[in-house]
Point group: C2
Chain length 710, copies 2
């Protein structure tokens, strides 16, 4: 486990003392905007503009240097210095801040890493200064930081967000500005707004951890382009996700799968896959689009966690009801199946033409009281986990009144998630406002409402599933045997293991490799075959030969000494004829195992997140079928492996198709868990493929194990 | 080919003479709303309220009956009667309308099919009256019809749309009302607005055909829940789609795949699959969600068709630029690769920190002139098919000025599709308005802009692809042989063909079935094997036995008379031992074919759209892999079959993986085309599966053909 250190960011987000270094009287300068923003946000601590050329700015006395501020404050410390000085002045000022014992810096000034090699060197020195004095720094090259509960606007943004419960963290300053502007016109509120800039010191993880502990933040939203320490990110996000929803929008999908790899697993992994896997495993909700990002934020800040995935739809029109039902099914949620008693009660008071089953259609002339009756009745049904309330404007429907009724019912049952779609323009505007105030977010289209419900439902179910899990432990591992094999391979100046070596490694970790031994003479092949028992398979042993079958390098079903001897000779002859002087280590003799259902288990190492294990449909068409799922080996639990298996079509195969008995799922889980353990224990394993792993009704067998070390 | 009849709907949408039957003075009644809507819409023809109890309504003389209107009009005819009478009066009034020679009816009155059996019977009689007098009818149970160019509002809707170029047709009246309300607040315009109601006579096809011919309609949008005549719909939509974009939102996905089926193809088809296939093949753009529906409508009404799928992104901030690039790649569009000359020209005038490659980043301090320079430069690059222009508000960016510049550039190059994302709230509002007026639709998030671009791009490429296609013809078909087999099967009181019979049918249509004959004695089996040549396969012939291999019902690789004789006896013995007295027709002797790449070709019959042919990865795991694509057999062209194949992973297999030579694609195309022809020629074929179809580097072989007739 990576140790999760959480820096104390309170001097930065709730400073008692603050200096704006580079404060300016000129409205065109950022140093002016920042000072004005601090003042206008209602900041209540001690505030000092710093500028050697000015006496006073915005009615505040201006001090000539940070040292002067420190003298004025003594014995108190300077909690936060916001730097809006020219690029060349940043390092000296930071040094001065450090000398006088400043706790934190926000460096707004740009001109560092983003400008090239010289800037990168300046940035490196800046971080060095911070480390030397134990200062923590946000930036450089950022918009700044805002906290609506302090309150503090330490940024040059053109506005200050409404107070709210969403902590927003962004690696893009432009996105911060856009979202702030947009949120002001939408009445959306935030607890914090952090522009990360170049992340030279503090990064998204630090602010995610901070927001997780912040009582004013109920939802954490982050836009990121990369993370620097994958495993720390994973631990922090997972811990945060257990306390409150973490919604992340990550860009850079297009880099996915762009790297070359020598294994199936490596080829199917790719960098976005690692992020995707880490997010899922950490319980982070990943937004796919900007729209998703906001809909999810709105959903999480308004909706309580649903008990389950069953949705009831209440509507006053058929068409939109069907569209909503489609959306529920496509999103993987379930339509509630109503109890007989519920249906009977609906039938008692609703018009005969209504639909009493889900979607419950109150028909076109429904008034607010009809909605009230239906909602209250449905709230008594234990098969309903959440509500989607639809309204289309008709002659007899009063959207505003219906909105009031929905709000009342919601207040009586705050624990039940309700979303609404009041379709239309001007005639539903007031209703939508009333709904939102009552904690019933309202969406333009059924699909968006369903997407929001799905987000909160997935998150609630995931949290429940992951409670009280333990990382798998294996007592019977022979690490020394593995290390011995790797040493021998290195001594032989190779990085790719022979099949016999890979089988030995697998066996040492309890992975059921089919017995495989290397023979360098025909006589030895016969002795090995006799020792392991007939029938056997013989394969040419050469990491250079990819498709061994195609050149006659494999002989199967050999059931006696004579057959093995002949096979040995024929294989070497075939290889020589087809490929000429290719390096051959000998012939591998493998016990011939009964055919089982073909799976693949593999491992690929990600630069950020360490080993990723893979599972899926095996065989020669793995790359064609792409039926695979991934997990980080780090902290892998049995429940995670189960869910990983269940995401694939291979799971259907293992459960038994066409009348077959189910395969031994526990054996597959065990093999995956052991591959994960092996990958964590031996960082020198770069890639590993077991393809196929034969799965039997009892046990399994790893037929072909490929291991590459680094 | 189904004959496409297009009724003349001009008397309904552009009537010179109009009667509102059931017009009322009481503002609470629909008969009042409808009359008032007609008057307020500015209708310029002759208008008669009809109500025996009134003398005058809204300053118009009121006539007692339709007959009285007809007398007043003589010798002119009554073009349109809008019926807003009680349900019981609809039939007599319709009869009267017919007698006096009325051309068209809009029946707004509800209380027909939607209320149950009695209503359905009334509706049937209403249609009978219309047919008898040659009147065409919209409704009953509809909101009515609006045409902004006539102008005419013959509906009880609470508003009249802005004039525009979108024809909107909806099977849901509630959706009509919602969309109208919403469009009024958005400033979105329509040419026509049609509420279909019960579609007792006129249906979506008629109004799609009408809108296709209407010069005021540039885009056709339809919301449908079902169609009554699939093939007519297909023909009409295809013809309309060649003239202007047809965007359809169809609900009822959840019914998909709900039916039982005895073949792979049947199980993988399902009713939504048929719609999906028909839409795609007809060139209809299918909207997945309400939001899609409107974004696509807006895109098609503003954007010219792009030349290709290459998009350039111009932005003033990095993060949103990356998000947009991700969206372009995920949508299956391509990022333009800029020419060296373009990059050099950009470099000449843009700041050094800009990104000169796609996405082109003008950086945060970009002003309007910088956008102008970049856009003009990029317009000269032949590798750019469309533009996505991003802007985030910064201190030095003026969204309104940039919008003006974009609009100017767009006016200089109206033929180039441009979409914009000006991210933010109040600060970008005016800019967005200016952009929209200039024909540059602006979206809230990059993904929505990309979805719009993708819609118009797909449609443009599809149109180009389908120009000048011919339906495949096969001269060498032996229909009589097929008919003989079917007669024999029916005479034997079966619906499922034996393998030998199915092979005979396939061969008669030139599908390369492996030679397969039925033997009822061991001696006959030997004779058949000798005639077709060794080696052969023997299989038990019984439609009742599903997994023949599992019970020892199949013997392969028989290479002599003795082996065949033994196999015959063993197979019957195995079947008897495992299954007891199951009906067995004998043993099929099949020439053993070399192994090829395994595909499946199949056919399933849809109630609406006729035979659907299927292609995909074959083998025993077809239902697990679900790697299949479908086309309607009706009007199938070679280009369609090619595109069908290219949608599957099987295509990758056929092109050659792991160093294999490509398979004979033409032979696969030929087999699919012949299956389509067979299905059209013999409507009694309910389902057909060829699995596997072995594909070789030259030719192919249908190993196992299953045919069920009805």
């Amino acid at each position: 486990m990576t140790e999760v250190q959480t820096p104390d960011l309170s001097p930065m987000s709730r400073p008692r003392t603050l200096a704006v270094v580079g404060a300016s009287r000129s409205p065109a300068k950022l140093g002016h905007s920042v000072l004005l923003n601090v003042i206008r946000s209602g900041y209540g601590g001690r505030l000092y503009p710093v500028n050697p050329k000015e006496e006073q700015i915005e009615n505040l006395p201006c001090l000539p240097s940070v040292t002067a501020v420190a003298e004025r404050l003594r014995p108190e410390r300077l909690d936060l210095a916001v730097l809006v000085v020219p690029p060349g002045a940043v390092l000296p000022v930071a040094e001065e801040c450090g000398r006088v014992g400043t706790s934190t810096l926000i460096v707004i000034t740009a001109g560092f890493k983003e400008t090239g090699a010289a800037g990168l060197e300046q940035e490196r020195r800046l971080v060095e200064i911070c480390r030397r004095y134990g200062m923590r720094m946000l930036g450089p090259n950022c918009l700044g930081l805002m906290d609506t509960h302090t309150p503090l606007n330490a940024s040059f943004a053109a506005g200050f967000p409404h107070q709210g419960e969403i902590a927003f963290i962004s690696q893009s300053g432009a996105l911060c500005a856009s979202i702030l502007d947009w949120s002001l016109s939408q009445g959306m509120g935030f607890s914090k707004f952090v522009s990360l800039g170049n992340k030279a010191d503090l990064a998204e993880v630090d602010f995610i951890a901070d927001a997780a502990a912040d009582p004013h933040s109920r939802v954490i939203m982050a836009y990121i382009e990369d993370v620097h320490d994958g495993l720390r990110f994973f631990e922090v996000a997972r811990a945060a996700g257990r306390r409150k929803p973490v919604v992340i929008l990550k860009s850079g999908l297009s880099q996915a799968g762009a790297r070359a790899a020598s294994s199936h697993t490596g080829a199917l992994a790719g960098s976005d896959r690692a992020y995707e896997t880490a997010f899922r495993q950490a319980g982070v909700v990943r937004a796919r689009t900007m729209e998703d990002f906001f809909d999810l934020a709105s959903a999480f800040s308004h909706l309580p966690p649903p008990k389950g995935n069953r949705v009831v739809i209440v509507t006053n029109s058929g068409g939109p009801g069907i569209l909503a039902s489609d959306a529920v099914e496509l999103a993987g949620l379930a339509m509630s199946s109503l109890q007989r008693e519920t249906v009977d009660r609906l039938r008692q008071k609703l018009p005969a033409e209504s639909n009493f089953y889900n979607p419950v259609d109150l028909i076109g002339d429904a008034d607010a009281e009809r909605y009230r009756y239906a909602l209250r009745t449905l709230l008594d049904d234990p098969g309903v986990d959440s509500f989607l309330i639809l309204l289309t404007p008709t002659a007899s429907t009063h959207p505003t009144e219906v909105a009031r009724v929905v709000s009342q019912v919601k207040r009586e049952h705050p624990e039940v998630p309700m979303v609404a779609v009041f379709m239309g323009g001007a005639s539903v505007e007031e209703g939508n406002r009333i709904l939102l105030e009552a904690g019933v977010p309202s969406y333009f289209a059924p699909e968006r409402a369903v997407a929001a419900l799905r987000g909160v439902t997935d998150h609630a179910l995931l949290r429940r599933r992951h409670e009280g899990e333990d990382v798998l432990q294996y007592p019977d591992l022979d690490g020394e045997a593995v290390a011995r094999v790797f040493s021998a391979v290195r001594a032989d100046h190779r990085l790719v293991l022979l099949g016999s070596e890979a089988a030995e490694v697998a066996s040492a970790y309890g992975i059921p490799a089919a017995p495989t031994r290397l023979a360098t003479t025909a006589a030895q092949a016969v002795r090995l075959a006799e020792a392991m028992g007939f029938p056997v398979v013989c394969k040419v042993a050469s990491p250079k030969i990819l498709h061994k079958t195609d050149i006659g390098g494999v002989k199967v079903g050999l059931d006696g000494a004579a057959a093995v001897e002949l096979a040995f000779l024929e294989i070497l002859e075939n290889v020589h004829r087809h490929l000429g002087p290719v390096p051959v280590h000998g012939v591998e003799v493998q016990r011939m195992m009964p055919k089982g259902r073909e799976c693949i288990v593999g491992m690929s190492r990600d630069r950020q997140f360490g080993p990723l294990v893979m599972f899926g449909l095996g065989g020669i068409y793995v790359n064609l079928l792409k039926d695979v799922s991934f997990r980080l080996a780090h902290g892998l639990t049995g429940a995670e492996i189960r869910s990983m298996i269940s995401e694939t079509k291979a799971y259907t195969l293992l459960r038994g198709m066409r009348g077959e008995a189910p395969a031994d799922l526990e054996a597959v889980i065990d093999a995956i868990g052991r591959v994960a353990r092996l990958s964590l224990d031996f960082p020198e394993i770069a890639e590993l493929d077991i393809n196929p792993l034969f799965s039997y009704t009892s046990g399994g067998s790893a037929l072909d194990v490929k291991i590459t070390i680094s």
